[in-house]
């Protein structure tokens, strides 16, 4: 799997993007590189990279999902986008409040400012709610408090040393980020995955999805103050993380992915033991899930809250469980020749209404699929594996991987000696934050924690 690269003159940028969309290409990310601009698109197993030597015109009217990408390219790399009005500050925190918020005026309108430090054990980020009474009219997000300059920190390092930096863009999506980086590097160096390597990485990705989905259900229960659910799913998550530690030596699977191969070895006895642990975990998860469905007072809090309309999900480029809960059947796992998913069909909730209930249901629908996949992947022992030559080497590499939060894009440019010249990571959380903000107006302010937890987006991998 590789991608088609089209070099585009700045003046033709909009026309090229417009043509790509008309041809059925789906936007996957936009970023600054070499003082120029790149945009990636995906279409049924194909990838397209548009490259322009300079930025000129905005494409936000064609691709609203590119709004954050353009604002970031402006704030961090100084690119200008004609037609993106107003180009509000995103990463740049120097701007005074009126310059990064949407003006909301009227009788009894006031603002509730929350964060960056929150009352619980929560990542840092600032939310500015414009409300009348308890009703939210508009939400302005200000993230990037956690901006660590990770992309810049990874640049100039050999790939093996850049990997831990990219991996730790997010602790909870470490595997997905690391696989995306490894795939992008292997794409650039013309390496393909052997079946054994694909199996090892798929196993890690699904172990990560398992503990994250269990964590999300626990967090959602916490969002409505349902302590038995919070603790039951927290207990299940703990067991999943202990299994991670048994299999790979790390509860978050850090260090288990490397570029160019895999050192993961799981002998037959350990694989059988893991399957039996997963079998028990599956039974108890099913029981806890049924209980959650019959907890009427909890379910009523979920219905009709924080609705992401199908049209908005498409327009804003939502990905992952949040998009599937709104009826957009996209899942990067269905289009992953470097991984071992074969005929995976994305699990959709019974009613894809885009509300909190649907986002809860989509986790419930995906968990049995994750258990099935893990059982199948552990049916045979795992041995260390390597890549094999699979295509021409070139400077650029591109990869899309489905993290627990959705499609993550990684783009790299490598020097001939294997040093990373540019790396860009656009995670599922980054893609979904604007969609989350869209669902909040019209809801009650006290429902925000629930809406937020139903997306369970990560701040760290958006901020980088």
């Amino acid at each position: 799997m590789s991608f088609a690269r089209r070099d585009v003159a700045p003046a033709a940028w909009r026309a090229e993007v417009s043509d790509a969309l008309a041809d059925g290409w789906r936007f996957a990310g936009l970023w600054a590189e070499d003082a120029g601009l790149r945009a990636a698109f995906a279409r049924h197993g194909e990838r397209l990279l548009l490259a322009a030597p300079a930025a000129r015109d905005s494409i936000v009217d064609l691709v609203p999902a590119a709004a954050w990408d353009e604002r970031e390219a402006h704030d961090l790399h100084g690119l200008a986008f004609a037609g993106h009005e107003p180009l509000r500050a995103l990463v740049d925190h120097g701007a005074p409040t009126p310059e990064w918020t949407v003006p909301v005026e009227g009788r009894d309108v006031f603002q509730v400012a929350v964060g960056p430090i929150h009352a619980g054990v929560i990542e840092s980020g600032h939310f500015r709610f414009h409300v009348v009474g308890e009703r939210v009219l508009h939400l302005d997000l200000r993230l990037f408090y956690k901006h660590r300059g990770l992309e810049r920190a990874a640049q100039g390092r050999p790939v093996a040393e850049a990997l831990p930096v990219v991996q730790r863009a997010c602790g909870a999506d470490a595997v997905a980020n690391a696989i995306a980086f490894a795939h992008a590097c292997e794409d650039a160096t013309g390496q393909a995955a052997t079946p054994a390597l694909a199996r090892a990485r798929t196993l890690l990705a699904e172990l990560e999805r398992l503990y994250n989905h269990l964590n999300d259900l626990s967090a959602i229960c916490a969002g409505v103050g349902f302590a038995p659910g919070t603790m039951a799913f927290a207990g299940l998550k703990e067991r999943a993380m202990r299994l991670n530690a048994t299999l790979t030596g790390h509860r978050f699977l850090f260090g288990a992915v490397r570029v160019g191969g895999s050192d993961l070895a799981i002998p037959a006895a350990a694989a059988a033991e893991a399957r039996s642990v997963l079998g028990e975990l599956r039974d108890e998860t099913r029981r806890a899930w049924r209980e959650l469905q019959f907890a009427g007072s909890v379910q009523e809090r979920f219905d009709g809250v924080g609705v992401l309309e199908l049209e908005d999900a498409r327009r804003l480029g939502a990905v992952g469980p949040a998009a599937r809960a709104a009826g957009v059947a996209i899942d990067a796992r269905t289009d992953a020749p470097r991984l071992a998913y074969r005929d995976l069909v994305p699990a959709l909730p019974p009613r894809a209404d885009g509300d909190v209930a649907a986002r809860v249901e989509v986790r419930g629908a995906e968990l049995p699929v994750v258990f099935d996949l893990l059982d199948e992947l552990l049916a045979e022992p795992l041995e260390p594996a390597a890549t094999e030559p699979g295509g021409p080497a070139r400077r650029d590499g591109l990869a899309l991987v489905e993290s627990p939060r959705g499609q993550t894009l990684c783009a790299v440019a490598l020097r001939e000696d294997g040093v990373v010249e540019r790396v860009h990571l656009r995670t599922g959380s980054y893609a979904n934050w604007p969609a989350l903000a869209q669902t909040v107006p019209g809801n009650l302010l006290p429902d925000f924690p629930l809406i937020n937890k139903s997306f369970e987006l990560c701040y760290a991998c958006a901020d980088r």
């Binding site: 408090y145 660590r148 602790g171 703990e238 850090f254």
Partner: protein, 155 residues
């Protein structure tokens, strides 16, 4: 709900947590100064039924005004420097700062110097150091309890 409660009851029995041998408590306020979110996951996990930090008198409180200990995660980004210092200033004395995880302890691996503030050690008086990437929930508990009981830091 009853099935969930029974499941929890069984879990508690299997985990066989002991009653804390000593008295005392610490109110903890967490500030994420640029972590990768793994330290937050482990600090949250410390409240799950397998560890149940609260039985030792270790509780996360909502405001720095109610806190004895400031638990800081992450390498301290330039943008979190001011909120972090404000949270510290808001705490009543005596107050203690804990560096939770390798990043907060200044391992210096992650991040570009331009986006980071000076390390936590240079900003605030760090008294508790909890190593790990991330530290597991039992490690977090061991270090906080050693501090609470005036013992040398856990190995």
């Amino acid at each position: 709900m009853f099935v969930l409660l029974r499941q929890l009851q069984r879990l508690r029995r299997d985990a066989a947590l002991t009653a804390p041998p000593r008295r005392g408590s610490l109110a903890l306020r967490h500030v994420d100064a640029g972590s990768c979110n793994a330290c937050e996951h482990e600090l949250t996990a410390a409240a799950n039924p397998y560890y149940d930090l609260a039985r030792h008198g270790l509780n996360v409180v909502a405001s720095p005004r109610h806190a004895d200990v400031l638990l800081v995660t992450g390498p301290v980004t330039a943008r979190m420097r001011e909120p972090l210092l404000k949270a510290y200033e808001a705490m009543p004395e005596p107050r203690t700062v804990a560096a939770l995880g390798d990043c907060a302890m200044g391992c210096g691996v992650l991040g570009d110097a331009a986006a980071l503030a000076p390390p936590l050690d240079e900003l605030l008086p760090v008294a508790i150091r909890i190593p790990g990437c991330p530290p597991a929930p039992d490690v977090i508990a061991a270090h906080l309890l050693a501090h609470l009981h005036g013992e040398p830091p856990a190995a």
